[in-house]
């Protein structure tokens, strides 16, 4: 395990992967699907007049939805899963880190914490790009889910003019589910 931990320094501070560029602009259809799933009746997400009545120029995207715009989509998700199953690793710092953790049995993931600072509201037409860096990797720790390490990713979401939209810290636990201790 110390041998594994000794390698974490290779990854800290590195660009995690190439910038993720949204496949389409922020749009009303995706926003509407998202707010319906959350049963959120705030009209500023769907009704331009209601949004204007609050002083906004257009409907806005719910703050928590920022991550959605840079998701890779279903087809790409399938490809990534297939590559991982075949043991093929892409040559990005983050995929190399995850492959290294996979080799040592740390195959499962849960998100544990997130901080998002919303600098600008997203409106339809905004094209989001997200820059990821690996900010920190903890030593291997015992957790309730099994042994694992906490990985902190910094994500900076910018618009097409490179203006900062959201600054995020995202913490995941990457763990080995076979090391979970049975409940007492």
């Amino acid at each position: 395990m110390e041998e594994l931990e000794a390698r974490f320094g290779e990854f800290v501070g590195e660009v995690a992967e190439p910038p993720r560029v949204a496949r389409y602009a922020v749009n009303e259809a995706m926003i509407r699907n998202w707010v319906e799933a959350h049963d959120d009746l705030n009209p500023v997400y769907v009704d331009v007049e209601a949004a204007r009545a609050t002083g906004r120029a257009d409907v806005i995207c719910p703050p928590a939805m920022v991550t959605t715009w840079v998701m890779q989509g279903y087809r790409r998700w399938r490809q990534v899963q297939a590559l991982r199953a075949d043991g093929v690793q892409e040559d990005h710092a983050y995929s190399r880190l995850l492959a290294l953790l996979d080799e040592h049995g740390f195959t499962s993931v849960v998100a544990t914490a997130q901080e998002q600072e919303y600098v600008r509201e997203l409106t339809p037409g905004t094209r989001v790009t997200c820059h990821f860096t690996i900010e920190d990797i903890s030593p291997i720790k015992r957790t309730g889910l099994g042994n694992g390490c906490f990985i902190t990713l910094r994500k900076r979401y910018v618009d097409q003019a490179d203006q900062l939209l959201v600054d995020e810290k995202f913490v995941i636990l990457r763990f080995d589910p076979t090391t979970k201790e049975p409940a007492a």
Partner: protein
């Protein structure tokens, strides 16, 4: 004192919101955010990964937090910052009840402590900072 902060007192409790969560809620919110991780929709694979059932994604938790806060403070509310920690998972059949209190009030901003509990404990604890309504459209996205 702005419309947002008028009448707010530090320590004041916020009204609770109980959200019954079924399997469809957890799947629909994950897919609406384009999150296809199997732990959010496939019970068998969730078992393989060490959890008894599928569980809510962090983005969905964050979305429900937005809803709780803006339902209380109104559509002009602008959420400036959310810092959240996850505790026990939200599984199908759970009810998550949001509660909270006012932690800080300044001329133009409010900081809240918010938590969402299910029967097994705290699913999420968060600090949420709001500010006043957007004063005019020219400033949208540009207020620093």
């Amino acid at each position: 004192m702005s419309a947002l902060t008028a009448g707010l007192v530090v320590g004041q409790a916020l009204p609770e919101l109980a959200l019954p969560l079924d399997r469809t809620t957890i799947v629909a919110t994950a897919i609406a955010s384009q999150d296809f991780e199997d732990v959010h929709h496939d019970p068998g694979k969730a078992n393989d990964r060490g959890t008894p059932d599928i569980f809510m994604s962090i983005n969905s938790t964050n979305g429900f937090l937005d809803r709780y806060v803006t339902d209380l403070f109104g559509p002009a509310t602008r959420i400036r910052k959310v810092a959240l920690r996850l505790g026990v998972p939200n599984f199908p059949g759970d009810t998550m009840t949001f509660s909270g209190s006012v932690a800080e009030v300044t001329d133009a901003a409010v900081t809240l402590k918010v938590a969402g509990h299910n029967a097994r404990g705290a699913h999420v604890t968060a600090t949420v900072t709001l500010d006043q309504p957007v004063p005019n459209p020219q400033n949208v996205g540009g207020i620093q």
